[in-house]
C-alpha cells in the first residue's frame, strides 16, 4: 500500500497557479527526489503534504488519512510527517536539547527524562552530542540543520520531508548534512527530498521527479533520469545544472 497518495492536486496563490494537477504515489521506505527550476511548485507541493499550504483541488491521503479541513486529521498527519526547512527554523530561545524535546513533551506527552534520552540518542546519530546544551545561534549552519533533522526525528515520524535542506549551506557543510540524510535513507525512512544535489539523487534516490511550471514533467529511476531522460525539458534542465 502506498503511504502517500496525491491525486490531481491543484493550488493557486491569487491568480497564479502554482500546482496544475500533481498526481503521485509513494511506497513505504521509498526515497523520492524532487528537482526542478525555482518557481516550479516543488516546495509548494511538499508543503501541501503537511498542510503548511492548503491545496484547493484534488486529494492527498497520508498513511490512510485524508487531508481535509478537519483539525484532527491535520494534527494527526503533522505528527507523523517530519519536515526539514531550508532555513533550519530552529527555536533560537531554546537549547539544542530543548529544541528536540519540545514536541515529544508537548505533543506526545512523554516524560522529560525519556525524551531527553531519546534526544541524546538522536544527537549521537547526527554526530553532534557535545552541542546538546548550546543555543542554535552558537552552532554552524551544518550543525543547525543536523539538529533540525534530529528535532523532526524525535517525533518518530513515518515520513520525512526535506525542503532544499542544503541550499543555505557552505559546500563543506553540505556534505555533513547529506551524510546524515543518506544514513537515514538506508535505515528505511520514507523520504521526499526537494534538492539540487544531483549526486545525492544518483546515490540514494529510488525515484527522481522533475517539476516544471506546476506540473510533473518526468518521473524516472535515477539511472534512467540522468542517462536517458524521456522528456526534452529534463534534458535541458540537466544540461544546465550538470
Amino acid at each position: 500500500m502506498s503511504i502517500i497518495e496525491a491525486k490531481d492536486v491543484k493550488k493557486w496563490f491569487g491568480d497564479f497557479q502554482a500546482l496544475k494537477g500533481i498526481s503521485m504515489e509513494i511506497q513505504e521506505g521509498e526515497v523520492l527526489v524532487v528537482c526542478g527550476p525555482s518557481g516550479s511548485g516543488k516546495s509548494t507541493f511538499i508543503r501541501c503534504i503537511n498542510r503548511l499550504e492548503q491545496h484547493q483541488e484534488g486529494s492527498i491521503i497520508v498513511d490512510g488519512i485524508e487531508l481535509t479541513n478537519d483539525i484532527k486529521n491535520i494534527e494527526a498527519i503533522r505528527s507523523e510527517v517530519g519536515m526539514v526547512f531550508q532555513s533550519f527554523n530552529l527555536f533560537p530561545h531554546l537549547t539544542v536539547l530543548q529544541n528536540i524535546t519540545l514536541a515529544p513533551t508537548w505533543v506526545r506527552k512523554k516524560s522529560k527524562s525519556d525524551s531527553e534520552q531519546k534526544a541524546m540518542e538522536l544527537l549521537e546519530r547526527v554526530g553532534i552530542p557535545e552541542q546538546a546544551n548550546k543555543f542554535p545561534g552558537q552552532l554552524s549552519g551544518g550543525q543547525q540543520q543536523r539538529v533540525a533533522i534530529a528535532r523532526a526525528l524525535a517525533m518518530e515520524p513515518k515520513i520525512m520531508l526535506f525542503d532544499e535542506p542544503t541550499s543555505a549551506l557552505d559546500p563543506e557543510m553540505i556534505k555533513e548534512v547529506l551524510d546524515v540524510m543518506k544514513e537515514l535513507a538506508k535505515s528505511g525512512m520514507t523520504m521526499i527530498v526537494v534538492t539540487h544535489e544531483m549526486g545525492f539523487a544518483k546515490e540514494v534516490a529510488d525515484r527522481v521527479m522533475l517539476f516544471d511550471d506546476g506540473l510533473m514533467v518526468e518521473e524516472n529511476t535515477p539511472n534512467e533520469f540522468f542517462d536517458n531522460p524521456k522528456n526534452d525539458r529534463t534534458k535541458l534542465f540537466l544540461s544546465q545544472i550538470l
Binding site: 526547512f85 530561545h93 543555543f135
Partner: protein
C-alpha cells in the same frame, strides 16, 4: 629643544591621548556650563529677594489637597509626598492596566475576525491621533456631564457614578493588610520553590510529579492559613525593626555620613573588581585597554568625590535630613522613621482579616444636606483621578498594542511553520515558540511606554488631580521657591524612570537570546 617639541607633538598626535583629551574637555565644559547657569539662577533669585532655600519644606503651606495621604499637609514636604504618592498610584496601576488592555488590543489587531480587527484598528486611529491632554479633558467633561449626586442619594451601592466621580465596591485594607501582603509575597516564594523542587524530581526520576498542582495547593493552603491570622508571623520583622529604629534614633548624624561613604566605597570596589575579573581568564587575560583603565579610574574618582561631598556641608545637610534633626526644617524621612514605620505596620498584636469587601457608600458632607462618596469604605475615584487614569491608560494601551502586534509579527513565519510541522497546536505554538521570542522584541519599546505613562501622569494638573507637578506648582506659587521645586521634580521623576527602566533592563538581560 626641537627634540622636546617633537616629542610633545607626538604625544598629542597619539589617538588614545586625543580621545581622552576630547572627552575630558567635553566633560569639563559641560560641568562648567551647568555650574555657571546654576550660579546665575541662584544669583538672580537672590536679587529678587527670594533666596534659594529649602525652608518651605518645613513650613505649613496652608492649603488643602483634594485627595491623597495628607489632605491637610502640615509641611511642604508632606504636600510633595502626597503628590508623589498620587503620581505613583496612577503609574503602578496604570502600567498593569495598560499592559493588559494593550496586549488584548494587539492580539485583536492580528485577528482574522473582520469585526474585531476593524474595531481595534479604528480605536487605535482615534486615540493615537488625538493629543493626550485633549483625551484627559474629554474624560473629565464626560464624567462632569453625568447627573449630580442628589440630596436623596443615600446608603450603600455596588457601583455609582455621578459628576462627583465614581464609587466602587472594594476590598478595603484593614490593619493587618501590610503584614498580609508581606506574608503573601513569602507564600509566593515558597510555592515557587515547591514548583521547582517537583520539576527537579520529575527530571531526575522521570515520573509525573504534578509540579503545578503541588505549588497551587501550597499556595492555597498557605493563603488560607495567612488569611485567618497566620499573617501575624511576619510581626517578627516588625519586632526587629522596632529595635533597629530605637537603636538608630540615638545615633548622631555623622553615622549617616559614614554609612553613605562606606556604601559608595563598597559599590565602587565591587564595580572595579568586576571590571578586573571580566578579563582575568581566557584569551583576554590581563589585556586591559585604555577604556578599561579609564572606567576603573573614573569609578574610583566618583567614589572619592562622593565621599568628600559627604563630609562637606551638603553631606552634613543630607545626614541631618535623614536623621530628622532640625535643619532649615524638620524631616521625617530618616532611617529611624523608616524602621519605625515598618514596626508599626508589622505589629503582631494586630488581629482580624486583612481585607474587608465593602460596598461603596454615599454619605453626608459634614452636617449639610449635600452628599459625597465615602473615602473610608469602598473605593471612590475623584473626577481628576478617573480622567487622568483613563487617559494615560488608554493612550498607553494603544501604543502597547502596536508593540505587541509588531513583536508577534516580527517572529519569523518559519518559526510557526517549524512548530506546526512538529504537530504543535496553535495555543502551544503561541505559548512556547512565538510569545517567548516576541516578548524579547517587545520589552525595550514597552519600557519606553512605561516611562511615557509615568511622565504623562503630570497632565493630571489640567483636571485638578493633585499629583507631584500640580502640588509642586501650588507650593512654589505660594513660596516663590521655583528652583528647589524643580530640582525635587527632576530628582523624583529621574528616580521613578530609572527604577522602571532598570526593572525592564533586568528582564531584558535575563531573556536575551544567546548568540555567539
Amino acid at each position: 629643544m626641537v627634540k622636546l617639541l617633537s616629542k610633545i607633538g607626538a604625544f598629542f598626535r597619539n589617538v588614545v591621548v586625543l580621545k581622552w583629551a576630547v572627552q575630558f574637555i567635553f566633560l569639563g565644559g559641560l560641568i562648567a556650563i551647568i555650574f555657571n547657569y546654576l550660579n546665575i539662577a541662584v544669583g538672580n533669585l537672590a536679587n529678587t529677594n527670594i533666596a534659594f532655600s529649602w525652608g518651605f519644606l518645613g513650613e505649613t503651606p496652608g492649603v488643602s489637597i483634594a485627595e491623597g495621604l495628607y489632605t491637610l499637609p502640615k509641611s511642604g514636604l508632606q504636600m510633595l509626598q502626597t503628590g508623589m504618592l498620587n503620581m505613583l498610584r496612577i503609574t503602578v496601576t496604570g502600567i498593569v492596566a495598560a499592559t493588559f488592555f494593550g496586549t488584548i488590543l494587539g492580539i485583536a489587531r492580528l485577528s482574522n475576525n473582520y469585526i474585531v480587527e476593524k474595531t481595534a484598528t479604528s480605536l487605535l486611529e482615534v486615540v493615537r491621533n488625538v493629543p493626550l491632554l485633549v483625551q484627559i479633558l474629554f474624560f473629565q467633561a464626560l464624567i462632569l456631564s453625568l447627573p449630580r449626586l442628589e440630596v436623596y442619594d443615600v446608603g450603600s451601592v455596588l457601583f455609582h457614578a455621578s459628576s462627583k466621580g465614581v464609587a466602587l465596591s472594594w476590598p478595603n485594607r484593614q490593619d493587618g493588610a501590610w503584614m498580609f501582603m508581606l506574608y503573601f509575597l513569602i507564600t509566593l516564594y515558597i510555592s515557587n520553590r515547591v514548583y521547582k523542587q517537583r520539576v527537579k524530581l520529575l527530571e531526575e526520576q522521570g515520573r509525573e510529579t504534578k509540579p503545578f498542582l503541588w505549588s497551587l495547593l501550597t499556595l492555597v493552603i498557605l493563603f488560607a492559613i495567612g488569611w485567618y491570622g497566620g499573617y501575624r508571623i511576619v510581626g517578627i520583622i516588625g519586632f526587629v525593626s522596632g529595635f533597629i529604629s530605637q537603636g538608630l534614633e540615638v545615633l548622631p548624624g555623622i553615622f549617616y555620613q559614614i554609612l553613605l561613604s562606606v556604601l559608595a566605597g563598597y559599590l565602587s570596589f565591587i564595580s572595579v573588581r568586576k571590571q578586573i575579573n571580566s578579563k582575568r581568564s581566557g584569551e583576554l587575560q590581563g589585556k586591559y585597554s585604555d577604556d578599561d583603565y579609564f572606567k576603573m579610574i573614573i569609578t574610583i574618582v566618583i567614589a572619592i568625590v562622593f565621599i568628600a561631598l559627604m563630609f562637606a556641608p551638603i553631606g552634613q545637610g543630607i545626614s541631618k535630613f535623614l536623621v530628622g534633626d532640625e535643619l532649615t526644617f524638620k524631616s521625617d524621612w530618616g532611617l529611624p522613621q523608616f524602621f519605625g514605620g515598618i514596626s508599626n505596620a508589622l505589629d503582631w498584636s494586630i488581629t482580624g482579616v486583612p481585607y474587608e469587601l465593602n460596598m461603596a457608600e454615599i454619605e453626608q458632607v459634614g452636617t449639610t444636606k449635600f452628599k459625597k462618596y465615602s473615602t473610608e469604605v469602598g473605593k471612590s475615584l475623584t473626577v481628576g483621578y478617573f480622567a487622568t487614569w483613563l487617559g494615560v491608560v488608554i493612550y498607553t494601551a494603544i501604543f502597547i498594542s502596536e508593540i505587541v502586534r509588531a513583536g508577534i509579527m516580527a517572529v519569523s513565519k518559519g518559526q510557526s511553520e517549524a512548530g506546526l510541522s512538529l504537530g504543535l497546536r496553535r495555543s502551544s505554538l503561541l505559548r512556547l515558540i512565538v510569545l517567548p521570542q516576541a516578548v524579547r522584541i517587545m520589552l525595550p519599546p514597552m519600557g519606553n511606554q512605561y516611562l511615557n505613562l509615568a511622565k504623562n501622569t503630570s497632565l493630571g494638573i489640567a483636571v485638578g488631580f493633585p499629583e507631584v507637578v500640580a502640588v509642586g506648582q501650588t507650593l512654589y506659587n505660594q513660596e516663590g521657591q521655583t528652583l528647589p521645586v524643580f530640582l525635587i521634580w527632576m530628582i523624583f521623576f529621574s528616580t521613578v524612570s530609572l527604577t522602571l527602566s532598570s526593572i525592564v533592563n533586568y528582564y531584558n538581560r535575563k531573556l536575551k537570546i544567546v548568540e555567539r
